[in-house]
Every structure is written in structure tokens, then in C-alpha cells.
Amino acid sequence: MSIFSPQLAARFDALVQKYPVRRSALVPMLLYAQDEIGYLSDAVIAEVAERIGITELEVRNVATYYSMLRFKPVGKYNVQVCTNISCMLRGAHEIYERFQEELDIGHKGVTPDGLFSLEEVECIGACSWAPAIQVNYDFHDGLTPEHVPGILARYRQLEGKAAPPQLVFHPDEVKIVSRRFGLGAAKIDRYLELGGYAATKKCLELGPDWIINEMKAGNLRGRGGAGFSAGLKWSFVPKKSAKPKYVLVNGDESEPGTCKDHLIFLHDPHAVIEGTIIAGLAIGAKVGFIYLRGEYRYLLEIMEEAVADAYAKGFLGKNIFGSETEFHIVTHTGAGAYEVGEESALMESLEGKRGIPRIKPPYPAVVGLYGGPTIINNAETIATVPHVIEMGGAAYAAVGSPRNGGTRLFSISGHVERPGVYELPMGYNLKKMIYEVAGGIRGGRTLKAVVPGGSSTPVLLPEEIDIGMDFDQVGKAGSMLGSAGVVVIDDQTCMVEFALRTISFYQHESCGWCIPCREGTDWLKKSLTRFHAGFGTAKDIDNIQYLAENMMGRTFCPFGDAAAMPTLAFVKKFRKEFEEHLNGKPCPFTKQVDLVVV
């Protein structure tokens, strides 16, 4: 006897068949079970273990890894307030406090009537529309505390749906990836009207070598943050392989300050499908997986519908576009884990395990998913592929700067007048981006600092931002282009608090596998918490720097660097501001917070 509804049980029966191994269904199954039952009770764990054919211990090992999965009931509407950097800069704490007041509960509290629960969460991928919250899977963005009672009232009346985030436009934009945004292209017929799937057909005709050459010529560098040439990566996949090859699309968009893939899934899901098929054609894979972070449930549903439509049209399946070629796409949900954005951890997660990175070598192109050669690309990279094919590699490359082909979706957030996701050519001037494209610093204030490429990238000072935004130029300036999440910070911001909020995220998201990252992020968070509360000593500043320096380059995966790099930059560039917190002096920017040792 199943404890699940017949519909869910049937869905699980189908789910385990979707993957090469049953266990891959584990994480989605747990999340869907939680959606129905409310939390992962012992009975849920027992039945899921039985269905997958693993021990309950193994299920618990995995389930406790993912932050969306919970082991106690929550309210019918679980209010999740993001307080990560982009939201924090735009007043997330005030929103959170207002919810606390309205609901009279704290973090992880449940109202007595069981209707609401409240949670402070990490970045939910709505940075350019901050501050944002999720109520269950619904996004609500652009909030002020005054919105809070209305949101709660609407849920009380069971009509809580939110509107999709607003699109922004600027004349300097070069619309390639975002060409179809706002045009209804999520519907397959509309997508076809807009020229969709032509690139795939072309690739079917011209074959893998041609595809890879075009991709190399296009200089399309990985949009996830590492900036590795996609064409080159694809060329590493062995032509012959005893094991099946796979394409894995990384839609685990979680880097604070980044919300570009959000829009791609929302507005142009078929571009992701096309890119996946083309990648599959290039390497000779028959299956592609599209992994979306668990918080993006409404986007997953859009992707699922798009995939179903593509199957219905014969664009996916045994004989795609009437050819002899077979290609399938499986969509997959995560359940809350930033680390899973690391490619090998992503594979582990898709295989139904804890999101712990793998030892490299072997690299995924040789030994990847289920042991087969696998290419893993960021969703934006994949969505760009059809455009590179359509335009031709050389033409695409010409849009960008040297060695940096094409455009990028810049997620601009923080203290600017017009935050949003803008598509600009690679190499576009950062200063211009902030002051012209995004309308300058909000409320006529002064710029204090810019995080140029998501929270992992070292902060830049105002005098350092007259640079072109491509991988090489930002690198030269001592930071990284990363995921192109530009977080703008004005002069009313406490950089110690900003550093604390940044490191808190890494402490929360560290997978815990290796010592320097696990212990280092926690130690840094504790020190900064105490420091910001006014209990710091002069030695703490050196200690923070010492710890960060000793995490750099020493960890199992790049996560440690991602936590240490920004910390080092904060301490080095804002040491004076750290010193102003010393000797029991209150934080000059924010109201005094109580010392909380977490």
C-alpha cells in the first residue's frame, strides 16, 4: 500500500523509468512527495527507499543534503524570504521583519492555524527584481514591506498567484539570446513562427564536425562562470564510446546576483531544447538532461510543457525531424543546493546522490553521467547555441570582444535605478552599464562598490570599474566576469554586513566534503557575525584574512575559492570600514544587531 495518492504513485512509477538508473529519480521523488505530504515523514522515506531499491539510510543521507527538503511539517503556505545580497541591498530585511510581525512567528516558525510558515532563505534567482520572496513555489518580486499584508491576505483567500518578473529594455542591448523574450515563444508554434528549430535542422544536415567548428569559431565561452570555450569542451568528447554519451544542461542557477536563466526558461524554453539537441548531435548523444534548481518549479513546468510539445511535433524522439537520429530530453528538478551548480556535483545530484563534487580527472567529457562521456553546459550557453548556428560562428564572435564571442545576459541588481537583465555585447563598459543602462545609482547616491559577476567574484571599487565586461578584462582588473551578475552597492551600505551576508551564504551552501571549505566558511561566518555586532578585535581582521588566504586553492572544488576570494577583497579593499567597527563601536550604517552565535 502506497502512502501517496494514486496520481503521485503513478507519477513515481513513470519517474523511475525515465532515467538509466532508478536512483536518479530520488531527489525529484522526495520533493514531489513533500509537496503532497507536507514533509518527509519516516513513512515517506521508507516508501521512497522501497521504490528506488536503496536503504532508508541512503535516502536520509541524500534528503538531508538538500535545503528544500524538510523533516517537519510547515504551513500550508511556506513564505520564503530571500535575504541574500541583491535582496538585502533593496530591503529584504525589512520585508522579512514585516512578515515576522504580521505572522508573529520567526525563522522556521509555523502559525498556530498551520496556514503560514516563515523562512529566511538563500538566493532564489530573482536578484534583478529584488527584493523577492517565494510562497511555496510562487515568486513575488519588487516588494516593499507595505506589500506584505496584501500578499498574506490573498493567500488566506486562496488566490495568491504572482505575475512574472518585468522585462527591461535599453537601446544599447544587442538582442540575441533574449531576442524572443516577451514574444510568447514558450509556445512552440510561436517559437516556430519566430524562426525556431531552423538551427537544429541545419545541424542535422551538416553534422557534428561542422557544429563543433562553428561553435569554436563563435568563441562562445561558458556562461556559468568559468568561461571555458563550449566548442572546445565538446571537442574533448571521444567519438567512440562503449558507454552512452549525455548532454547535461545546468539550470541550477544559484549564484547570488544572477537571474538570467530564470528568464530564458520563462520566455524561451525551446531555445534550451534546441541547444540541447544540437549539443547532442555534436557529440553523438541520444539523451539530454535539463536540470533546474528546485525553486524554479514554475519554470520547470514551462520546460516540461515545451519538451512535451517538441515530442509531439517529432522534434524529439526516435526520429527527430524525420531523420534517423534519436534524441530524448529529460527534465529534472533539484531540491535546494548551490553546490550542485558545480558540474560534477550536478552529475552526482542527477544520479540521486548528495551533491558532492567528483575527483577530477577524469573529466565529464570522458567519464561523466552514469560513467559515460558527458558535456555539461550552463543553460544560457545552451540557449545561445542555436543563435551561434543561425548567425554562423564568425558573425556571432564578431559581436563580442576579442576571444569573447557574442553577448551576455547581465543580471544587474542592487542600488541602481533600473535593475534588470540586459543583453549586452561582451566587453561592454561596466561603468556605462551601471550609469547609463541601469540608470545610475538609486536616489542620486554615490557608488561604493560593484560585485561584477555574482557573489563569488571579488568586489571592485568605483575607480576600478571603467573596464570592458568580458572574461579577460575583468580578470585583468582582479576580479571575474563569472555569471555576469552585477551587484551594485551604494555608499549607505555597510561592507562588513555585506561581507557577512556573502559568507553566510557560502557557509549555508558548503557541501561539507573537505575541511578547508566546511570549517573555513563556518569560522568566517562566526567571526564576521561577531565582528559586525561590534565585538571584533583588531586581530580578527588579520584572522579573517589569514583564513581566507588559507582556503584559497586548497579546497576540493572551486567553492572554497568562491567563498574566500570575495572575503579577501572585502577585507583588503574595505579594511578601514572593518576598523571602524572595532572597540565596541556600533555599525555606522545599520542599526545595531544582537550578537547571535549561529
Binding site: 539510510l57 543521507n61 583564513l547 588559507n550
Partner: protein, 776 residues
Amino acid sequence: MADVTFTVDGKKLTAPAGTLLIDACRKAGIEIPAFCYYPGLSLQAACRMCVVRQEKVPKLQTACTTTVAEGQVFITESEEIAQARKATIELLLGNHPLDCPVCDAGGECELQDMTFKYGAGESLYAEAKEHREEQQWSPAVFFDRPRCILCYRCIRVCGEGMDVWALGVQNRGVHSTIAPNGGDHLDCEQCGMCIDICPVGALTSGSYRYKTRPWEMNHVSTVCTHCADGCKVTLGVRQTNDGSEIVRADNRDKSGINGDFLCAKGRFGFDFVENPERLTQPLVRNTEGKLEPATWEHALRLAASKLKEVRDSRGGAAIGVVGSSRTTNEENYLLQKFARTVLRTNNIDHQRSTDYAAFGRALAGHNHKTASLRDIATAPAILLVGGNPTEEHPLLAWNLRTNVRLNRARLYIANSKPIKLERQAEATLRLRAHGYQAIPAYLGGSDDTIKNAVFRKAVLAEDSLVVVFGQEFRGQAVESLVAWGPTRGNVRYAFLGDHSNSRGAADMGLLPDLLPGYVPVTAPGAFAEYAGLPATSGKTLPEIFKAAGKGELGALLVVGANPVARLGVDPAAMKNTFVIVQDLFLTETAAMADVVLPAASLYEKSGTVTNTYGDVQLVKKAADRAGVKPDFEILVRLAGAMGVDVKTLVPFGKGGVTADLGQSRGAQAGEADRHAVWLAANNLEPRLSPFDPLAVLDEIERLVPGYTLDRINLFGGNDVRTEPGFVPVAALTETAPALVVPAHDALFTSGTLGRYSPALKELAKHQARYGGLKIL
């Protein structure tokens, strides 16, 4: 793979291409520190302690995941590397409780050693430490979470090594923790491997925790007294008012036949020695028919006079002797020599759990057809017929699993029941109950009884095969199975028995018809130097008791056995027999004795034992208990009290005093020990005492076929082979398969002895309560 040459710290090293750098370095004496790396277990690269600098590589690399290739250049110690390691330790120590003064691991903690080595003496951590209450997961395993450094060794040894998978890691980041499969308890085989492998004091042993400091113990390597695998076990002993007690058992130097391994019995089942029911004074039945304490002198004199009286008045045929499957080879040899030459009887037997006599008979004339326990760990293919090694031979099971996992050995299993090892099996043949007799014919090509040509074809395709078979085989069946081997190439055999010296009991001639080495008592000229050896076979164990029931047995000497419980003997039947029992406890047998002599356990004496594979190992005295004596000494004293010249029993002094009595031993530490080993190995150690079992070992080697031992290795603490393919073919006699009664001890039982171990009883109770563990 081909050898490659590379440079480490300026030294040119050579190793097969693809060897892990950390292994290649360790082999060359270059120690690279590591917490998570553990030989034979999967790679983690999690602790980051083994970082080294590789030429032309920008970041420090982990030596545990770097494979060596031609021309590479590495630096393993430098300022940069020392700083990286120091910082890692500082990070670990941040939230690690500094309760070293009370921590079990204090003094033998890898984190302490590393902290000391890399000088992470100053604490930079100014935050509050997170305390968590310690958890008890089973009677054997305690978990102290803050001490855990998350090296994942325990998880891997439990999963990959034991194939139990009872430990996992839960939560994420700094909240990550090791967790047991039962939520708040462990449902497992309770082997304690997780405790032993823990580099710090996070997992501690229920029997050892908070008892002592490691440096307060002496560590003595000896052999486990329980099953017939014969694991080397290191006993931590500490002085007490009445001797010295065992406070811990582990396998700390990993040098034995068992490498890393020890099971629950070996690790926790030593506590019978401290059982309050332990006999520490001889008992003599008084005029009221009650056993009362007596002096050794009185008890021995009484026993000796009775034995002498019965022998002289009614002849040796009126005396019975029952030996033990846990006493040493020397004691067993001495017992049968005492029975045959002093008591003048062949009425000697022991509780036979395996038909070793049939095995010896089957192997007669074939050398090198037996497999050692080490062979099983490396053989390319193994056929396991019958038995359930996971329960009855934990080390054998470990070796099979490890061999499959690390060497991709092929394991074939034929069994009438599903067993856990089938998870490792290449192929499984399910037999009907009692279907084992058909195996030899089946392997020979007959499809009459067993129909599974695929399994047979796979087994027969193996060029080199070890056949391990259990107690399902006796008598003729053993011979049929063994006879199949010599006809086809490299087939070797191992026969599974029950207790630590079951094999030795048979090898040493605790049998009414066979002398040591399975030489028939009827063989002309056998053991000619045994004065007065009766020429006809004696009574078997049941026959001895039958004779007693008929009033035909004047005296019975039982050494370390409990036949009354096993055979269900009615004490009333023994009223006309004078019974002498040497044992640790007042067993059912001892309770009906006229004289009870308190004996030392295997952990309280020296000698050798032979495991069921024929591997001989040295037993060293670890603990001591006032009031008890080793069976060897008791027998010598008994003989002496009977007026025997003990030199005829124990050749002490005789040609033995050839050494220099220590004058040439060097002053350098350790040299004396090595010198002692060399002297003993070369027969130069003086045998100055009639209580020195090694004097008898000399005679065993001289007289017992097959016991030509590699003494330098034996005395160095290694296992050495016996070769039982020695029985003269002309001298073969029938064996008595009906007398074989397997004990079938499981993970927490160990014959009568196991009943006196509170730890094993606790573990059995825990598993009975929680044991949902699916064996298959």
C-alpha cells in the same frame, strides 16, 4: 603497468605507472600525512592534508589522487606545504573539542600527531564551540560528534569493507555528520571496524572508553581465541591487584594475517577473562559431595594419585581423556603424549567440529594443495561450497569481499541457502538441502542431480581455483571433493572448522586412532620414541562416556571442553568415574568433576595455534590472573605428581641450552627483541623450564609430519604454513564422520566460552532487538 621514474623531494623513485603518489611515497619511506586516505578504500581527497607541489601545476595537488607518470617532479615538504597543512589543522581544531586529556584517542590520535608535527599550537579560534551530546549507537559503538573530523573512513570501511553500509553522512556543510542506519542506533554486524579506523576519538568502543590511557597499557600481539580463522589480535593489558587485565583488543599494527580486520568476537569478546565466575582456585569434591576450594598442591596430588591408581590397577584402558579445540598445539601435543605415554591409553578425543582427519587422508600424497587464508585474499577465483563465512568465518568473508573488490577475483558460491556473500559472487549455484554430496560428481560433468551447466562451465574455466568448503562435507565426501582437484591444474583447498585451534587439536592427535600428524596408532614403528604407546585404537568421545556409564571408566581427564553439555551426559552416569576437569569456568562438565583445576585462557599463555587453513601463529601471554595455570603447566605438574620424570614429556634442558644466556645481546633498544627472535628461531633459546611450551614445539617440529615451520617468521609474529599432504598413503585408516558435530557459532556466539562474555551477550541482545539488517 610499466614502471615509471619520477622525482620526489630530489629523490628518483620508480613505481608502476598509475600508482597513487601517496602509496609510491610511503613505499619509499616518504610519509605524506592524510586523514581521509586509507589504503584499499575508495579515494576521497577530502581532508586536503596530503597536498604536495607538482612541478608545472599551479595549485597544490593531493597525493592521494595524483597518479605517477614518467618524469614528474614533486615536492612533499616545503614551507608552503607545511603552511597548507597547518592551516587545515587549525581549521579542524576550530570547532574540535580540546578534551584530549579525557579522550580515548589521546596519545594515539592522528589529529594530535599532525597538530604536533605542523606546529598548529596557537588557537586563532575565538568563537564558542558547538557541543553535542555523545551518542550510544550500540553496546559497542559510541559517537562523539564534535570530535569527528569527517574523514569518512568509518563509512567506507563499513560499506566497502564490511558490505554492511550501516553508516552514512547526513546534513550539509558544517552540519554534516556521520549517522547510523537505525536513526539513533546501529543495526549492523557490530564488528567495531569503524572504531578502529577512526583517526580521532569520535567513534569509541563501549568496552574500552574512559578506562585507561593508551600509554598505560602494554600491547601484546597474540591470536584470537574464538573462531578458526585465527586473527592476530593486539591486547592492551594493564596491571591489576591480581595479575593484569585486558582492557582492549584491536589490531593496531595491522601486521597479522587479518590486516585491518577484526570482528566483534575478536574485538569485544575478550571479557570472559574478567568474568566474576572465573575459577581462580582449584576445587575438590568433599566428603559431602560438594566442590570446595583447595590448594593446587592438594588438588594435583589427589588427581595424580587417582590417575595413577586407576592406571596401575585397571590399566590405561580404564582412563579417558578429552581435549580442547582452544588450547595450544603444545598443550594438545602434550596432552596426547601424557595420555599415551603416562596414562598408557589411546582413549583420547576432542569435540570434533570438522573432519580434518578425512581432509588429511584426502590430501595424502599431494603437496601444496591447501590454501592459506592469505591465498584466499589474492586468489583469482574461489569456489565457496557451503557454510556462511559472514557469520562463522568473518575474516574469510572479509578476505573474499576484499579480493573481489580490489583484485576483481571471481567468487563462485554453491549453497543450499542464500548467504550474504552472494552479493560479491560472480555466479551462484543454489543446492537443495543436503545436496552437497552431489557436488564432486557435478563438477566432474554429471547432470544427474544438479542441473546448472553455466555455473560449472564458469568454474571449470578458471585456471587457478581455491575451493573453500564447510562442515557439510565429512568422510568420503571430503575425499570425493578433494579428489577432483589434482586432476585439473592449480586447485587448492581450505576446509572450515570452528574454533581457534580445532585444526590444531586434530593435527596434534587428540584422536583415539591417530597420532599427531594423522599417523595411525597402528602404523608400524609410529612414534617409536613414545615409551609404552598402546598399539590399538582407543575409545572415541561417545564411547568414553558410554564406558563410564557402564562403570568401565575409572578416571576421566577433561581439558577445556564441555562434553556434558554437548553430548547431554547424565552426571549420574559418571558416579563411578573420577573426573578431573581443567577449565576457566564451572561448566556443566566441571560441575560434576571431582577435581577442578582453574586453567588460563589463551590470552594468558604462550604457544602456537593452527587455524583452519593450516596457518600456524604464535600465541603470546598477554594477561595474567592469580590462581590460574596454563593447561601446559597443569599437565606437567600432574605428571610430576604421578612420579613421572617430566623430562620424558617436555624435553627441557636436553640439548636446548646452547645460547649465550643473553651476553651477546646489544644494548640498543629493540635489538634485544630482535636477537631473542633470532635465538628462538634458530633453536638457540634455552629451554630452562619444563613449563616452556617451546620445548614441546621443538619436538612437534621434529616428530609431527607437516609441522616443519618457518620459525623466523613464526617468532617474528607472522603466520607460517603447515603442509598436511604428509599422511603416508599406506597408513590411511577410515575416519569417523558421524562424530563430527559442527558448533556453527555465529557473530556473537563462541561455544561454551562465549556464554561467559557479557560483551557478546549484550551485542546479541542489541541485534536481537534492532536486527532488521537484511543479510541478503
